[in-house]
Structure formats: C-alpha cells, structure tokens
Amino acid sequence: MASDRHDIALSVNGTAYRRPADSRMLLSDFLRHELLLAGTHVGCEHGVCGACTILLDGVAIRSCLMLAVQANGHELSTIEGLATSTGALNSIQQAMHEHHGLQCGYCTPGILMTMTAFLKENPSPSEDEVREALSGNLCRCTGYQNIVDAMMAAAEALRATSP
C-alpha cells in the first residue's frame, strides 16, 4: 500500500501557508507538528472528546477527523488566533479566566473554538442551550459548571460590545 503527498495552501488565523502534506496526515497533526500551532490538542482521534475542535471557514469541526489535504483552500481558525492584536484575551477567553472555567487547560482549546462559533450564531443563549452546545466537548477537570458560567458571561459581554 502506498501513500502520496499533496501540496496544500491554506490560511490559519489569517496567515497563509503552503506546505506539502502526506495524504494520511490528520489535520490535527498537521496544525500541531507541521505548522507548530500546538494550541489545538489531541485527546482521542475518534471525534468524541472535542479537544481538537477548530473552525473551518467559521464552522466548528473536529480536526482529528479531517485530513490535512482536505484543508486545501480553506480558512482555519484556532486558539492561537483568538487573542487581540495586542495579546489581550478576547471576551470568551477573559470570561473563562474570570469564572475559573479551566483547570488543566487541555480541553480548553476545543471549548473556546466551539463556543466562538456557537456564540456567534446564538448571541443570547439560555443555560440549557449552552450546556447542549458544550455537550460535544469533554472536560474531566471542571465539572462544566464554571465553563457554563463563563459562556453566559461571555455572551453578555459580546452582546454589550457588538454593533
């Protein structure tokens, strides 16, 4: 059995990259070990834990269930792109900090990206809706309560600053 390599061109957090990629390289591994954007974490490689969640053209997906070659021509957003240009935490990150929504921090990148997409589409969620949106991200440390509080606060902050 043989594999092949393809040249791909993609944008991650607004930066353009051109790289060759082995056909079978998972997008999660490509981001972490080829582009050295190690903020996206790998937890299961079968699409369940959600730690690897990133945005593909603004939509939350599991990067462990996508091949790097499939990202050709697309715009990706990862945790490294969230902070403002001055390095300050954005509203969602800041809310996580204020509400102690992270402990070990390993599931956090996936949660931040999932909720970035979710809050954009649902600016005024109820707690139940937030929990549903979070249900595809496993956390073993926090018991979720503080994450839920953080997201409700982030939603409020985003509503206050949005046009």
């Binding site: 974490h41 369940v48 992270l102 402990q103 070990c104 073993r140 309560q145």
Partner: protein
C-alpha cells in the same frame, strides 16, 4: 503578616498561557531529529510467548529500530515496589510487578510486546502490523471469586495462587458487639470504580545528550522526583545527570502517579541507545490498557446495631481486583478498609481483604483511591438498617457521628501512610445539618415528594457522609527566592495537573513577602529546579507543598526584615513588609524594595557571615506526622423516568470541610470536578470486560464520560475545622467530590423508585437505566 491573598478567590496566574494555546504539554515538545515510538501490545489476556518475529517490521519504511524484551538485556527488569505493604501483623503480600516488555508471558490485554522506533508515529504503526507473534493461549482469569478457586489457572504461574495480598485489621471486639446487637444486617456489595481517562493521555519524550552526559525526560508524571531517581539508577546515571520535567499535564487523577510504566522505562533507554530524541504519546485506545485502572471489589459486610440504630460494630470481608501486577502495594484496598469507618463511631471493626491477581490491567489509585468502595459499604449498610428500624436515613447518620469533642479521634487501624488512622480534627454535625438544609430535606420528604409522587413523578433524595484522609507525608519542599528585580521565584518538587498550584502557592508566598500574587513565579515538576519531593497524589499537594512554601517564605521574610533592619539600623519590629518593599512603620518614605534587599544579600564586597547564606532565598521542607482528615456530606435529589429508567439530577449539594482554604475558587473547581467523576462512576462509566479479558468498550464512544448535560449545577458550602497538623491548618480536597457519589445515587434511586417496597436493594455501582430495569423486573 497581613493576609491579602490567603483565603481569597484569586484568579489564576496560569490561565493566560493555557487560554492562548501557549502552555507546553508533552506532545508539544519538538526536538531536532526526534523519532517516534509505537508499542505492539498484546491482543490477548493470557498466553505464553513462543516467539516475536520483528524482521518484517525492520524492513518497513522509516523504521530505525525495533526492540523486544531480549534486546534490553540487563536493563530489562521487573519494576520496583512503589509502596510497601503497611506494617500490619500477619500480612500476606506476594509482589509481582510489571516489566518493560513482556518476556515469556502475557498477563493482560495491552501488555507491551515490542517497540518500533520510526520517523513518524504513522510509520511506526505501519510497522507494528508486520510483527509476527507466536503464542500459546492460556485460560484467562477475570473474575476475582473464581480466581481463588483451587482449580483456577494462575496469573503468575510461579506463585501457586492468585492471592496478591491478604490483610486483616481489627479494633475492638466485633464478636462481642454482634452478641449484644438488636439487629445484624448482612449484605454483599459490588463496587467498581473506573478509569481516570484524563483528556490528555500519557506521554514521554527522552533526549540524551551524549556529549553533555545528560538525559532530559518530559513525562506526564505526577511524581517527577521519584521518576528521576529511579530512571537514573536504572540507566546507570547519577541523579544530577537526569532531568525530569512534568510540563503542563492535562489531568492526572492518580494513574499518572503510577511509576516506571513500561513506556517511561523504555524511552530513555532507547534515547541513549540511538542517540536521538524519542517521543511516545499514548493514544486513546492504548490508554484503556496501558494506563492503570481502578476496578472492583466484592464486600460481604455486616453491621451490628442497637435498636436505635447505633453502630456496635462492622465486619467486612472483601475481595479486591488488583490486576495482573501489584506495584502499588495495598494503597487502594487499605483506603477502602479505613475509609469505610467514615465519620462514625464504630467501636468494633473486623476487616479482612484478599487482593486478587487477574489477567486485567494493573489497578492503582484513581481519585478516591479505594475510598469509594468503603464509603459505599458503610453508607448502604446504614440505609438498610434505617429502613429496617424505620429510622430516617439522615437521623441514623446523625446518631452515629463522632462528636466534636472527640478529636483527635483514634480509629486505631493502620492507614495508607503507615500510621494508625487518626482523625486530626472535625466537626461533623454542622456539615450534615447544612447539607440537609441546603437540599431542603425536611420540605422535600415532608411535602414536595408526596406531592410530586401523587402527580406520578418518581423523585428521590439521597444523603451520604464521608471522611477523607488527606495530606499525608512523607514531605515536600520549596525553594523561595526574591530576585533582583523584586519578583519572587518559588520552586517545588511536585507537579501540577490543573490544581492551580501556580496560583495557590503564589498566594501563600505573596502574603508572607508582601508582594503582588502575579509577581510570584511558581515552578513545579522540574527536577532541575527542585531536587527533593514525593509527588501530587492523595490530596496532599496544597497541604504538604503549600506548607513547605509557607515555611520557606517565612524564612525569606525574616531575612528581608533582618537585612532591612540592618540597613535602617532599627528593630525588625519597627518594620512592615508590603507592596514589594520593607518600610518603617509610620514612615512610608523610608523603604527599601525587596529586589534591592536581594541585591544587598549578594554582596560584591564585604563577606557573608558564618552561619548565614547569600541571597534572599530559603529552602524548607514540611513533613506532616500523619494525614489531615477532611470530611463532607453530599445530598442529591433525582428524578427517574419510570418507563425508561433514565435519570435526571434535580439538585446537588456538597458541604465540605477541608480546614483553612487557600483559594475558595480553586477549591470549588476541585469539588465540581470530583463530583463529575463521581457521577460518571455512579451511572455512566463501566469497563465491560468479557470472559477472555477483552475490553468491549475501548473507545470514548462507549466508555461514557459525563458531559455538560449529565453534570448538574452544584451548590457548595463549607465549614472550616483547621488541621492541627500543619501551621496553615489546611486539609486536602482533591478527591472529596468523587468519593460518596455512588451510595448517594443508590439511595436516591431506591427512594425515587420506592424499590424497597418491591424488595429490591441497590447494592452495586455502577448503575444504569438498563440495570435498573433488570433489577426492578423480577420484583414484586
């Protein structure tokens, strides 16, 4: 000393790096020329190995080396005994430990057989497919009762038995107690815990610098110092030649405290052999087999009570599944044995356990570390007695609580820290009262429940009490140093897996030294930065390392005051230390910054006096004589769908006492997380092995971790009974949330479904809707 930070919900110093994806986890380590390792693991649970042919693997693209046990030569040896059995009279203990690669025998699914080193993990896994293993299959031992049959095959054929250990402990005279009893109630309980399944699996990176004669190992371990010492010895290196770094670790929960895992032992050897850095990252499938579990116990327990439900004695005989090897000694079953006593007066206790070898992965502590099993037995016995004697379940607990004037309370039997179990301090009544108040016990049982029941809803309430031994020795240390720029650097030997050490320890130092908590930089888990220590386990980090940080900070504080008093030519009593400077009380304009004092403490001229040291630093150690005992009460209201038996948690309350609290925000997070794991253990997580030792649900799709939809909002409250065993008065809290959830669910579900009316008792954990259906099915 002014307390600005201690006790405050200070936001975490470590968050920024974690929130921006800049924190280093082990798989983030990238080194030039790094190779990747994959392990061939046994697909069967018990076999004799005839041969392992790796020739096909060696021909695969990108493969640099393939190793089997024989290749390790004298480096191959069974792992050390990590925790010796406690000094209990008459103990039987048969030590059998894991090996770096299986040689001659396979004893559980997942045991490593061969190692492939290749240019990528992808290529390494390709090569695994080409390795040919010739085995003679053997009968498999998975059931701990039949494992003790004389006819059973032996997991260790040289042992002649599947007994790993046999321990008997007692206090008082149970036989006499039973004779006096008005009621003796006897039941069989099955309790299974589960796997830790942190979101980050394990991993090791080893880098050997042949010219510098130095080994660096990044490892997701909870015990970097012990790993450094052990690996240095195994590799024939001095301890100073080995640096172990536990970087940011994505959850530990106990199994990352297991030491000298095959992969930990192999990677550094490979790095030296190949003179290239090597990386192994456990994938999720491996995690189900390669990282330790906590599994099941079967208890035949009886309780003797008087007619008022007061405990006269408890007798318990239990079996404990230890897995294929027992490197961690008896910590888990000893915890079960001791924690069963709970917050209750138990005048007589007769407890025997047999730890049994099985052809299953190794069992070592996982958050709760066997306490769950003991608490389940006691709490269920009390519930059953309460039902029998028609006493309210909360009331029967109240009647048996150790009174507040009885501390320190001697339970006599030996605990995991090798000391006779002694509860240092506690005040249990108010904790129970607060929990009952918070859950609305009287209103619920009195009026809400009857109303809801009349409307056809199955709602039930549960309450469970526990005591948690925490903060055991041996010791930890900390080095605190004021830097020339005025910031403070603190290093300690333990590692961090999310507990917030970078903040809680900074709070302690910041209070002593009068600096901003954000100006305290904490280093944990790097043996180059701190030499001595034990590790993060058994809810001891804050207690032991926290106190060490405090001791070291106090000394530095004194040094700063002395230097300043010399400079100002005044008494130290005239000085105040705040805002990063030492000033004369009442004359704020006469100050010296701490950084300046640090510089002065490292003179370019003059001399350091005998008996003193340069620098504004100190290294101090703290070793408690025994563990500090925390306690708590959980309460729950559940609703069960009478048709599907699915469960919804309507309310969850935790009242907890862990002594003085460093950071209530971090503490709450620990409780939340523990409860979530407890909920998983009680109702969702179950390791399903077949009779061949195959795990049928080895994926996160089928091993069910609770999500944000299964874990409810929790209400937390605290009381504070400081520990007399350490100057800060703190007790551990890391495991508390996880411990009583099993019996809590059992009690509440029994109540919701009114099972006792149908003569159905819930004597097992985990439960599930299907299991509840099956248990209710045959009943009246």
């Amino acid at each position: 000393m002014s307390t600005r930070y201690f006790g405050a919900p200070v936001k975490r110093n470590e968050d920024h790096r974690l929130l921006t994806g800049q924190a280093l986890f082990v798989d983030d380590v990238e080194l030039p020329g790094m190779l990747h390792v994959a392990f061939l693991r046994s697909q069967v649970a018990h076999a004799r190995i005839n041969s392992i042919d790796v020739s096909g693997a060696l021909k695969c693209e990108g493969v640099v080396a393939v190793y089997i046990a024989e290749d390790l030569e004298t480096y191959w040896q069974p792992g050390p005994l990590l925790v010796p059995p406690p000094p209990i009279a008459g103990i039987t203990f048969n030590l059998r430990t894991q090996v770096p690669l299986a040689k001659d025998w396979i004893r559980h699914v997942g045991e490593p057989l061969a190692i492939v080193v290749a240019e990528s993990r992808y290529l390494a896994e390709d090569a695994l497919d080409q390795i040919v293993v010739d085995l003679d299959m053997l009968p498999v031992v998975v059931d701990i009762e039949s494992a003790l049959d004389p006819s059973s095959v032996h997991v260790h054929d040289d042992l002649g038995t599947n007994v790993s250990a046999h321990v008997y402990q007692s206090k008082g005279d149970y036989r006499a107690a039973a004779l006096r009893a008005d009621l003796i109630l006897k039941r069989r309980f099955h309790y299974e815990h589960g796997i830790s399944s942190p979101i980050e699996t394990r991993g090791v990176v080893a880098q050997w610098d042949a010219r510098g004669n130095h080994m660096t190992i990044w490892d997701t371990t909870q015990a970097p110092v012990f790993i450094r010492n052990g690996l240095a010895a195994m590799l024939g290196l001095g301890e100073h030649q080995v640096r172990v770094i536990a970087p940011f670790v994505g959850g530990g929960f106990g199994p990352k405290m297991m030491m000298f895992y095959p992969e930990e032992v192999a990677l550094p050897w490979i790095a030296m052999r190949l003179n290239r850095p090597v990386k192994w990252i456990e994938d999720r499938l491996e995690h189900f087999f390669a990282t330790t579990h906590e599994r099941g116990q079967i208890h035949d327990a009886e309780i003797a009570v008087d007619r008022d439900g007061r405990i006269l004695g408890v007798k318990d005989v239990f079996l404990h599944d230890t897995g294929a090897y027992n490197p961690y000694g008896l910590t888990v079953p000893i915890n079960s044995q001791c924690t069963l006593l709970g917050p209750y007066l138990v005048p007589a206790y007769d407890s025997t356990f047999t730890a049994v070898f099985t052809n299953l992965p190794i069992v070592t502590p996982y958050r709760g570390a066997g306490r769950q099993h003991g608490v389940f037995v006691m709490e269920r016995l009390l519930d059953l007695v309460a039902h029998e004697l028609e006493i309210d379940p909360a009331e029967i607990r109240r009647r048996n609580l150790i009174p507040s004037d009885a501390f320190p309370y001697k339970n006599e039997i030996i605990y995991q820290d090798f000391q006779p179990l002694e509860y240092d301090s506690g005040n249990y009544q108010p904790v129970l009262d607060m929990a009952l108040e918070a859950i609305g016990y009287a209103a619920f049982t009195g009026s809400e429940q009857p109303k809801l029941r009349a409307a056809g809803r199955c709602v039930g309430i549960g309450i469970a009490c526990y005591v948690e031994g925490t903060g055991i020795g041996p010791y930890e240390g900390a080095k605190v140093q004021v830097l020339a720029n005025g910031k403070v650097s603190v290093a300690t030997g333990i590692g961090t897996q999310g507990q917030g050490h970078f903040t809680s320890f900074a709070q302690i130092a910041a209070d002593q030294l009068g600096v901003d908590v954000r100006d305290v930089d904490i280093v944990t888990g790097d043996t180059e930065r701190f030499y001595w220590g034990a590790g993060t386990f058994a809810s001891r980090g804050a207690v032991v390392a926290g106190n060490a940080v405090n001791e070291a900070s106090k000394v530095v504080r004194q040094k700063a005051l002395k230097l300043a008093s010399d400079a100002f030519e005044c008494s130290e009593d005239d000085l105040v230390i705040a805002d990063g400077k030492v000033s004369i009380i009442g004359i704020p304009e006469k100050f010296i910054r701490l950084g300046e004092l640090a510089q002065r403490a490292n003179p370019m001229r003059g001399a350091v006096k005998p008996g003193t040291e340069p620098g504004l630093e100190s290294t101090q150690y703290f070793g408690p004589p025994s563990g500090a005992t925390a306690n708590g009460v959980h309460a729950i209201i559940v609703e069960i769908d009478p048709e599907t038996f699915d469960l919804k948690i309507l309310k969850y309350v935790v009242v907890h006492d862990c002594g003085t609290v460093i950071n209530p925000m971090i503490l709450a997070g620990q409780i939340h997380g523990g409860v979530a794991q407890g909920i998983g253990n009680a109702f969702y997580e179950k390791l399903s092995f077949d009779d061949q030792g195959q795990l049928l649900n080895a994926s996160l799709a089928d091993y069910l971790l609770p999500t944000a939809l299964e874990v409810p909002r929790m209400e937390l409250a605290h009381t504070t009974t400081p520990s007399p065993l350490n100057p800060l008065g703190i007790k551990g809290a890391g495991e508390a949330g996880a411990i009583p959830v099993g019996p809590l669910f059992a009690q509440a579900i029994e109540d919701a479904l009114q099972l006792k009316r149908k003569n159905v008792e819930l004597l097992e954990i985990p439960l599930s809707p299907s299991r509840l259906f099956e248990l209710s099915k045959g009943a009246a």
